[in-house]
């Protein structure tokens, strides 16, 4: 596992690294350290980071800059910062947890567990991002009709008809999306309000019909879950 720590004060960076190591035990881990936004982007560009631990106030700079730059990436981000007033906005960009400084081992473990066990983030994202050429583009989560997992990427079908490609896996996206987004299939996530109906095709095959007419497969294991969600919605 590759972990990137973006923190400008060396003692704290080492402490974070030591803490993560001791919490995660013997896992095969590689740590990288960046002290500036540019340094971070360089490291990210080189390899596949799995997890990023980010301090929002890097040498007085605005930390959201980094979030905006990295929101489209495949890795998850945990913020470790003394500026708790920045938490709400950070979650809008889709971070998986916000650990206030000074942290203790218990709290850090909680955040790391969230990452590892694919639990949902305490606050869902408002924006997702994709890369177009050299630009990072943000779009609202509310504009999503359907998320379809492809081989290495995820297709996001938007309400305006556009289709964009996201780098995060469906598992990782599921962690930061609001609870009204349902994983109806290994390869599909859709918001509940987009579902018009679902039907049994016979045998173990089920199908969901979206309001726009799209038909997508529904896993047999998830039928019950979907039923429960629909009933809850009706109530």
């Amino acid at each position: 596992m590759k972990v990137l720590i973006i923190e400008d004060e060396a003692p704290i960076a080492y402490y974070i690294e030591d803490s993560v190591r001791s919490i995660l035990g013997d896992k095969d881990m590689q740590f990288f350290r960046a002290t500036s936004p540019q340094g971070a982007l360089d490291i990210i560009g080189e390899g596949d980071i799995d997890l990023c631990l980010l301090d929002l106030n890097l040498s007085g700079r605005d930390g959201y800059q980094i979030l905006e730059e990295t929101a489209h990436r495949s890795f998850h981000t945990i913020i470790i910062s003394a500026h708790i007033e920045l938490a709400a906005k950070a979650f809008e960009y889709g971070v998986i947890d916000f650990v206030p400084k000074p942290f203790n081992q218990v709290r850090l473990k909680q955040a790391l567990d969230r990452f590892l066990s694919e639990q949902r983030s305490p606050h869902s994202a408002k924006y997702l991002a994709y890369r177009m050429g050299n630009k990072n583009c943000l779009f609202l989560v509310d504009d999503i009709r359907l998320l379809k997992g492809c081989r290495y990427l995820v297709e996001a079908w938007l309400k305006d008809g556009k289709t964009v490609l996201l780098e995060k896996s469906l598992n990782r996206l599921e962690q930061i999306l609001p609870s009204n987004f349902i994983r109806i299939h290994r390869s599909y996530i859709t918001p509940l309000d987009q579902i018009a109906a679902f039907e049994h095709m016979g045998g173990s095959r089920y199908r969901v019909l979206l309001k726009d007419g799209t038909e997508i497969p529904l896993s047999r294991e998830r039928v019950r879950m979907l039923k429960n969600h629909l009933i809850e919605e009706k109530e």
Binding site: A10, P11, S59, G60
Partner: protein, 626 residues
């Protein structure tokens, strides 16, 4: 100025303009209140039953029964002959004076004659009375050839003459008084007068009217002497509370001198006549009179806070005192001088009103009243055209009363403004203290530092301990200095060094502070330099980069220069736009507020790259420390 530089200076003028336009309405309210007082005062002082200046024989409408008349037209002859008292004497060859107020007295023996027609019979209970006020120097009064009174002793020369009293009243006995024509003659001499002026008041009327007139002279003066006394007391009291501006002290001098003059005039009635009326001739009186106007002008100059008041006062004094050297007649010199002083006060008030200064209208009315008073007394013929308002003595006191009231109004307004400003300063001080506290124990700073200490525990516990000690030291220092508006710079330097040690431990690099220059007796607001150093640490250095801060201090007379420079590498690669927005953050706001609080309007701040170092340069003009 190179790109990336920042230049700030005091914004007092701008703030003043805002202040002025906000506050115009209360000034009108005060004006209305004082106008009310003014009208009340007019009522209180009553109306003076003085009729037209001349007693008109042809209009024998009995008005002599209810009015007193100043006798204006006379026949004058220079010389002396006892026969001239007789009614039969042919005075057709005598000089006819139409207006005795406009005619200069001869410095010799003289006779005045006048024919009167008395329309009614005498009345024992309310006899006809003659009032002669301040007719120098000695005279005898003849009614139809009979000597009815004398004031002093008429003489042929200085040695023979004995001056009479200023106030002279004579009741005309009923036996002398019947309906019909009578001849009033005055035999006088004025050798005691140094420079004779114009003739003064000779009035005839019924006793009750004359008596009222006398009372009307005294009562307003008593009231005014009280006003002036009280005003002096108030002026001096408030001066000691607001020692910065001497305007109140000058006003106090003005009022105390007027108090003395007012009181003096009450005693002058029984004083020997040796002087014309405008002001008493004794040098002390002239000096006090002139000085009172001098101090009045100084008061106006300092009240409006004109630039270079000392030079202006000196120039005005020289100009307005020059009549004493230029003019021969002492009395006219006194008049010209006082007129010039009040004219200057008036001009300054007018200019200030046009500039929209707060309370300037009040000062304008007051100055104008005084100016008018001087002007009218200078041209008694002018006064006649404005009669009956201006001829009587107490009416001129009325003008002075108006001016006193409005000056006091302007002063009260100023005092109220100062109090308000003081109150705001107090509030600002308290706010600054709170800001300082918030700044110095910012949660982010503490949280990061605590985490840093934790970090050191595992790797190097000694450094962790050192961090705790340094943090404690920093808090102790802040606690000591935070309630004071100014601290010795050595304490601030100690605080900065402590902070740099702490930040060095946090970043695991070395930060140091080098101080150069003379630091004796230099006082700065708390956390001023600390904030600059904090800013430098945050924005100038890359992670892991060690740094040096230089503090340079120089004092040139009343000017103090502080320079804080650092060698952070990030400064060289500034993105100007983003840096500017960062600069306007909390740190710089705190510095601006502190500088403005301590040296309002007297500071400048420049920030930019100089010789490869990021430098913040503060220039302070001391002298007027809050």
């Amino acid at each position: 100025m190179a790109t990336g530089e920042l230049c700030l200076h005091s914004m007092t003028r701008c703030e003043n303009n805002i202040h002025r336009s906000e506050m115009k309405t209360p000034s009108t309210r005060i004006l209305v209140v004082f106008m009310g007082f003014f009208f009340l005062m007019v009522q209180f002082l009553g109306s003076e039953p003085l009729g037209p200046a001349e007693y008109d024989d042809k209009k024998s409408d009995g008005s002599l029964a209810t009015h007193a008349f100043i006798l204006l037209s006379w026949k004058l002859y220079q010389g002396d002959d006892p026969d001239w008292a007789m009614p039969e004497t042919d005075d057709s060859g005598w000089k006819q004076i139409e207006n005795i107020f406009a005619h200069a007295q001869p410095k010799a023996q003289f006779w005045l004659r006048k024919t009167l027609t008395i329309p009614m019979d005498s009345d024992e209970s309310n006899p006809l009375t003659i009032l002669i006020y301040n007719l120098p120097t000695a005279f005898e009064l003849y009614w139809d050839g009979i000597k009815i009174g004398e004031n002093g002793s008429v003489g042929r020369n200085l040695e023979e003459e004995v001056p009479g009293t200023t106030l002279f009243i004579r009741i005309i006995g009923s036996s002398l008084l019947q309906r019909g024509e009578h001849v009033l003659a005055i035999r006088g001499s004025n050798f005691h007068v140094k420079s004779p002026g114009l003739f003064r008041e000779i009035t005839i009327g019924k006793w009750n009217v004359i008596n009222n007139r006398l009372q009307a002279r005294v009562y307003p003066r008593l009231v005014f002497s009280g006003f002036f006394f009280l005003a002096t007391f108030l002026a001096v009291f408030f001066f000691f509370r607001h020692k910065r501006n001497p305007s109140l002290l000058f006003f106090g001098f003005y009022t105390v001198l007027n108090f003395l003059q007012t009181v003096w005039i009450l005693y002058i009635d029984s004083a020997p006549v040796s002087t014309p009326f405008f002001a008493v001739m004794e040098p002390l009186e002239i000096i006090s009179f002139t000085l009172s106007y001098l101090f009045l002008t100084f008061f106006v100059i300092w009240h409006f806070r004109l630039t270079r008041p000392l030079m202006l006062s000196a120039v005005v004094s020289i100009l307005a005192l020059s009549p004493f050297i230029i003019q021969e007649q002492l009395m006219s010199a006194v008049n010209t001088s006082s007129l010039m002083f009040t004219a200057v006060a008036l001009v300054i008030s007018v200019a200030s009103t046009f500039r929209g200064e707060r309370g300037a209208v009040l000062m304008l009315i007051a100055s104008f009243s005084l100016f008018l008073r001087r002007l009218i007394l200078l041209f008694p013929s002018l006064a006649l055209y404005l009669q009956p308002m201006m001829t009587s003595i107490f009416r001129s006191v009325l003008l002075q009363g108006i001016s006193l009231l409005f000056f006091l109004a302007a002063i009260s307004l100023r005092i109220r403004d100062e109090n308000r400003k003081l109150h705001q300063l107090e509030l600002r001080s308290r706010r600054l203290e709170a800001e300082l506290l918030k700044k110095s124990i910012q949660p982010h700073f503490i949280m990061n530092t605590l985490l840093s200490i934790k970090s050191w525990f595992r790797r190097d516990p000694v450094k962790g301990e050192a961090m705790i000690d340094t943090l404690a030291e920093e808090f102790q220092l802040i606690n000591q200095i935070m309630t004071q508006p100014l601290i010795d710079i050595s304490e601030e330097i100690r605080l900065c060094k402590s902070h740099l040690t702490l930040m060095g431990l946090r970043c695991d690099v070395g930060f140091e502070l080098v101080s150069q220059g003379d630091f004796d007796h230099i006082r700065v607001p708390p956390l001023l330099l600390h904030t600059l150093i904090e800013n430098g640490l945050t924005h100038s250095y890359e992670a892991g980069e060690e740094g040096t801060f230089w503090l340079h201090c120089r004092k040139k007379g009343t000017q103090m220069e502080l320079t804080v420079a650092n060698n952070g590498s990030r400064i060289q690669k500034l993105d100007h736009q983003s840096e500017n927005s960062i600069r306007e953050g909390m740190g710089l706001h705190y510095i601006k507020t502190r500088l403005e609080e301590t040296w309002p309007g007297n500071w400048q701040l420049h920030a930019g790259v100089v010789d490869g170092l990021w430098q913040v340069h503060i220039i302070i003009h001391e002298g007027d420390t809050a």
